[in-house]
């Protein structure tokens, strides 16, 4: 018996969310009185693999096949199923991100293992295996009980704080036989947006709405984001008016984010927008309308014109950052 966790990497290096997934898996392993095995697919250095021990992986199963350097949902699901069988896994953890959401459902259907997609809690074992997840685009939570012996969980990134501990993982190579079908999707082109913090994994987000009055005013928002090291987001009307690209749209029909800090500038806070961001730990609302519904969902508020307040806030952030050094 064990808990296994898909340890995602980007060209051989691990990100914080992977450590979070391992730590989460290890917490469940503790609840079940068993051990944690991280499964790493593709090319990663041995030293990097061992460091996963510091986040709770006692063992790493490494499938070193370089064909796995790019995501193939079929091949990843097959490799995880093979690792699960080898380890007698009772719980399989992945992240609720683009990779996890491609692989976990295939794995769940393949093993007929029930899934909780987008978990935000550890399982409650007092009445079965009950895990909390967001539903209605963040407007509510559901407690989902998994009925099957093997369980699959995708963890919503940025749910738990990551703490580095001690420990070196025991690395074991695993060989999995693939066939051509597993790699029948060919990657033609990869276009990465460089120089900015990806929105989905950003800890700090600065977001603009119609109160910004027009795309020409965005440099003021960008200046604040730069000062904070934050990612940029926007409301739906802003994306629909093509003031900003669609991938920045957060809300019920855009992206759902849960950063540590969400600063909403000139966004009134329609229910659809709140749905996409109310998982944020701290919300700051800047709006000239004191009746804006967003203030009810905010931790901190400033009433005033966005374009007057933004430079002041940026200056205050810069002053604070300099004092920190």
């Amino acid at each position: 018996m064990s808990v296994i966790v898909l340890a995602e990497h980007t060209q051989g290096s691990f990100k914080k969310k992977t450590f979070e997934a391992i730590q989460y898996a290890n917490h469940i392993a503790g609840q079940l009185n068993t051990t944690t095995t991280a499964v790493v697919l593709g090319t990663v250095d041995a030293a990097n693999l061992e460091q996963l021990g510091a986040y709770g992986a006692q063992k790493v199963l490494h499938v070193a096949d370089s064909k796995l350097d790019n995501l193939s949902a079929r091949a990843y699901a097959k490799a995880l199923a093979s690792a699960a069988e080898k380890e007698g896994a009772k719980v399989i953890v992945a992240l609720h991100d683009v990779t996890g959401k491609a692989v976990a459902p295939r794995l769940s259907a393949r093993l007929k293992a029930g899934i909780v997609a987008g978990a935000v809690s550890y399982p409650d074992l007092s009445t079965g295996f009950k895990v909390k997840k967001g539903v209605f685009a963040g407007k509510a939570f559901a407690f989902v009980n998994i009925n099957t012996e093997v369980k699959v969980i995708t963890l919503m990134p940025n749910t738990f704080a990551v703490q580095k501990g001690e420990g070196v993982a025991n690395v074991e190579e695993l060989s999995v036989s693939f066939d051509n079908k597993d790699f029948s999707i060919q990657v033609q082109e990869v276009n990465k947006v460089t120089g900015t913090v990806p929105l989905a994994e950003a800890e700090l987000v600065v977001s603009g709405g119609r109160g910004m009055k027009g795309p020409e005013n965005w440099p003021a928002l960008e200046a604040l984001a730069d000062a904070l090291g934050a990612a940029l987001a926007c409301s739906r009307p802003v994306a629909d008016s093509h003031w900003r690209p669609h991938h920045e749209h957060v809300g019920q029909t855009g992206g759902t984010i849960r950063p540590n800090l969400y600063i909403a500038v000139g966004i009134s806070g329609a229910i659809q927008h709140l749905a996409g961001v109310n998982g944020s730990k701290t919300i700051v609302v800047i709006n000239k309308d004191p009746e804006a519904p967003f203030f009810k969902a905010a931790d901190y508020g400033v009433i005033g014109d966005a374009l007057e307040i933004l430079p002041r806030l940026t200056t205050a952030v810069k002053k604070f950052k300099e004092a920190q050094h």
């Binding site: 029930g114 559901a142 009980n145 229910i271 659809q272 700051v284 604070f320």
Partner: protein, 247 residues
């Protein structure tokens, strides 16, 4: 080239969410049900575009739901599509939905199956991937663009911090999101035509759920917003640092 589009119904995006029966049931009283926006705006409209371009020969719509799902599937037919199938059961377990659709689709030999990236009510985003596994098909999730030529799809999909363009041989399952197509409004001719389009009701295969929702909860209400004067941005920054501990 046969396309199947998976449609689910979901509460209108302006719905205030409430629960009944000791927080075990979603309270549908006064709630307007709509076509799940990802299924409608992106999956369905892209399928219709492919048919209009002559790439696809037929577009079928499928939903897993009881009779109360029929207005929504009729509304989808008003946008377009040749026929609809309703599998007569309902479940919040994504495996049941995927396996019921797979059981039907296995005999129909669809070349392309489109669905939304997730439903806006249960937000799992796993149905498409499960369906692909059960039908032994390829799967591209979170696609923003889809074109077809010679039984190969060119699909752009979201990846961390950017996009990837893939060539994927058919048969294929694609989950769709923003960028795939522009939302349409059904016209009167479409609404009239939808009334007479075939809507086939199929008995469920009776697949057992792998999971169940036991209860719901609403997020904690914020206890009150702390206001700062526009002149006091140092105070706000200080609070974000020492009180909220986020910077």
């Amino acid at each position: 080239m046969k396309i199947l589009v998976c449609i689910s119904q979901a509460p209108d995006t302006t719905t205030k969410i409430a629960f009944s029966d000791n927080n075990t049931k979603f309270n549908t009283a006064g709630v307007t049900m709509i076509i799940n926006p990802y299924d409608e705006w992106y999956a369905l409209v892209r399928a219709l575009e492919l048919k209009e371009a002559g790439t696809a020969s037929s577009v079928h719509l499928i939903t897993v739901g009881k009779q109360d799902a029929e207005p929504v599937i009729r509304k989808a037919l008003a946008l377009g599509g040749d026929e609809a199938i309703r599998i007569d059961t309902e479940s919040h377990d994504p495996y049941v939905v995927a396996a019921e659709i797979a059981a039907y689709a296995a005999n129909e030999k669809y070349d392309l199956i489109l669905c939304g990236k997730e439903s806006i009510d249960y937000n799992n985003g796993v149905m498409g991937g499960m369906l692909a596994e059960l039908l032994d098909m390829n799967y591209v999730g979170f696609a923003t663009k889809l074109d077809l030529a010679d039984s190969v799809a060119t699909v752009s999909r979201e990846i961390e911090g950017g996009e990837e363009i893939d060539k994927a041989p058919l048969p294929l399952v694609v989950s769709c999101q923003k960028g795939m197509a522009e939302a349409r409004i059904p016209n009167m001719r479409g609404i009239m035509a939808a009334r007479t389009k075939p809507l086939k009701v199929v008995a469920a295969s009776g697949i057992a759920a792998l999971s169940e929702i036991v209860s719901y909860d609403l997020p904690p209400v914020k206890t009150g917003v702390k206001m700062f004067a526009p002149e006091d941005m140092d105070g706000l920054v200080n609070a974000l640092h020492s009180e909220a501990k986020v910077i």
